[in-house]
């Protein structure tokens, strides 16, 4: 009762990063609320993951294991989740904002008639006083997210319904195991009592998982280009610098829309969220849609000929000038100094 449950997603025999990020965040929230942090994991052979969940602070692991549940299927997975939430009545339930989490969480929220906030970028605990009735609420989950195309940041609350549900995108929160794993318990869910044959009416007939060839998220250095780069050819300069520094090339939405770079490279609110140790933004103006996906980078260098471009405001180093001159100079300098 009244605990926090994190839905744990697995992919290719591994726990998804976003689930571990949510456990890390969940520890802080559970600490503030003096409640337990719990995890729900569903699959065909997921026992192997329990130690890792303890490493990340899950005090209770609800384990639903069934050979029919090898791959995510909306109906049986939601049946198990809904059943657990009805019995355990968590105050907060968090899911990754992945194709699985965004398929499962709304279905669960509808069945439980509880509110769900999508794609949160920040979660906090706070109080609320209803202006009309004067009713006061303690320790609500503030679900903070960009809305309206990223032009505003909205704080959403669910004052009266439980669980308070939210999805969070991968890469937005930090992932940090505990120094000492918790000694938690595993509670096995009897799937046969919950899922029915008709929950399997939708069958997967083919599935080919293609690992993302472009791994922007995993790269410690990202060189990103925007519309200001001017052309697909000019992007070659970015690739050149990236290969010298061992970096990946990213792009803003405007650059992707203009055909300068592939969609898989898109960083920002509608693309990937990254937090590399170094982010070099070239020809990017710095619209919030883009910066929402990179402003947590450890260091930002902006290159833009417009001294008033908003990207310079969030940069640690703002270079005012033409990237066609600056990037070759960076390459030259690196080659001179790195020996």
């Amino acid at each position: 009762m009244d605990n926090i449950i994190i839905y744990i997603e697995t992919e290719g025999g591994k726990i998804s990063d976003v689930s571990l990020e949510l456990l890390t965040k969940g520890r802080t929230l559970a600490g503030e609320l003096s409640c337990k942090l719990e995890a729900l994991i569903i699959g065909s052979s997921v026992e192997q993951h329990t130690q890792e969940l303890f490493n990340y602070g899950a005090e209770t692991i609800y384990l639903a294991q069934d050979k029919r549940l090898e791959h995510y299927l909306t109906l049986p997975y939601s049946a198990i989740t809904i059943d657990l939430f009805k019995k355990e009545r968590p105050q907060i339930a968090l899911f990754g904002a992945t194709s699985v989490g965004r398929d499962l969480a709304p279905r669960v929220s509808s069945a439980l008639v509880s509110g769900l906030t999508a794609d949160c970028t920040s979660l906090e605990i706070g109080n609320h006083k209803e202006a009309k009735s004067g009713k006061e609420y303690q320790n609500l989950l503030y679900q903070i997210r960009p809305a309206f195309g990223g032009n505003i940041i909205a704080t959403i609350i669910n004052p009266d319904c439980r669980p308070q549900m939210a999805t969070v995108r991968e890469g937005v929160m930090k992932k940090e195991p505990l120094a000492t794993p918790v000694k938690g318990v595993v509670k096995v869910i009897e799937t046969k009592e919950i899922i029915k044959t008709e929950d399997f009416v939708v069958e997967i007939i083919e599935r080919h998982i293609e690992e993302r060839k472009i791994d922007i998220k995993g790269s410690p250095i990202i060189i990103a280009g925007g519309f200001g780069v001017g052309s697909k050819e000019n992007f070659n300069l970015l690739y050149e610098l990236a290969s010298v520094l061992g970096a990946e090339v990213g792009a803003s939405r405007a650059a992707v829309d203009a055909g300068f770079a592939e969609g898989a490279r898109q960083i920002g609110q509608t693309g990937i969220t990254v937090r590399p140790k170094l982010y070099i933004a070239a020809g990017i103006s710095g619209q919030i849609q883009h910066t929402a996906g990179m402003d947590q980078s450890a260091m930002i260098i902006s290159i833009n000929s417009d001294p008033n471009a908003p990207i310079h405001q969030i940069a640690d180093y703002a270079i005012i000038g033409d990237m066609n001159e600056i990037i070759p100079r960076m390459i030259k300098s690196y080659k001179l100094n790195s020996k």
């Binding site: 709304p106 769900l116 999508a118 959403i156 939708v202 033409d322 600056i326 790195s338």
Partner: protein, 291 residues
Amino acid sequence: MTKKLKIVVLAKQVPDTRNVGKNAMKEDGTVNRAALPAIFNPEDMNALEQALRLKDRHPGSVVLLLTMGPARAAEIIREGYYRGADGGVLLTDRKFAGADTLATSYALAMALKKMHPDIIIAGRQAIDGDTAQVGPQVAEKLNLPQVTYAEEIVGFEKNKLVVKRRLERGVESVRTPLPAVITVHATAPECRPRNAKQLMRFKHARTLTEEQDNEHNSYLPVISPESLRIPEWGVADVGGEESHYGLSGSPTKVKKIENIVFQAKESKRLTSSFEEIDMLMTELISSHTIG
């Protein structure tokens, strides 16, 4: 095997969030849609195309649009007509106002119960909220299976519909019985253009509300033919619990809205001279940021 299908496309008229002005928000944190250009939600266009393709392959099928919104959202139904749909319904009632995704999906589900579709197709998400919740919530309320992130409705196999899904790291094909809810991803083909004949035929399609407003506009035909009437449904037409609609049916509340303000931090400004860039690169190398 040819079967006649009744397909309902859920479409939303959305503010064009690429053009948000200062007066776009009301005090209570809800959106002042009137202040923004209204467009057909892009992924709902992809959904409409999938519906029209099914209709092409299954002659005799019917494609209807269902949209919820204020009077001017009738434009969504007209746009559907122009591209080959057979009609649609505008769900409109002051009691729907202030709905979050849950209250919205309740209203849509109640209307769909009256329409008895074989397939419900929607865009994955709308650009004003980006939540991707309404499709799955409608499916749950109607107790139907759902297939989200669809890139292509492939066709029938063993009396079930085969749908190809686009996921983060690849594709997945599933087979679902009907009726079902399918949400369509932006990677699906774009919608076909407007058809000139359909445009000429349906540009005078009006809701009753629009007819009444038109009485003041002498340059427009005062009365369009009955066959071009776009039906408007309110709470009284679709039934259900009043408390489940609109603001009262919405568990999520907007506590606070902040406009984006860039936080200025101490940034060092450099020129493009080689000396300054060289200093920066040397610093990055010595701090092991690069190299």
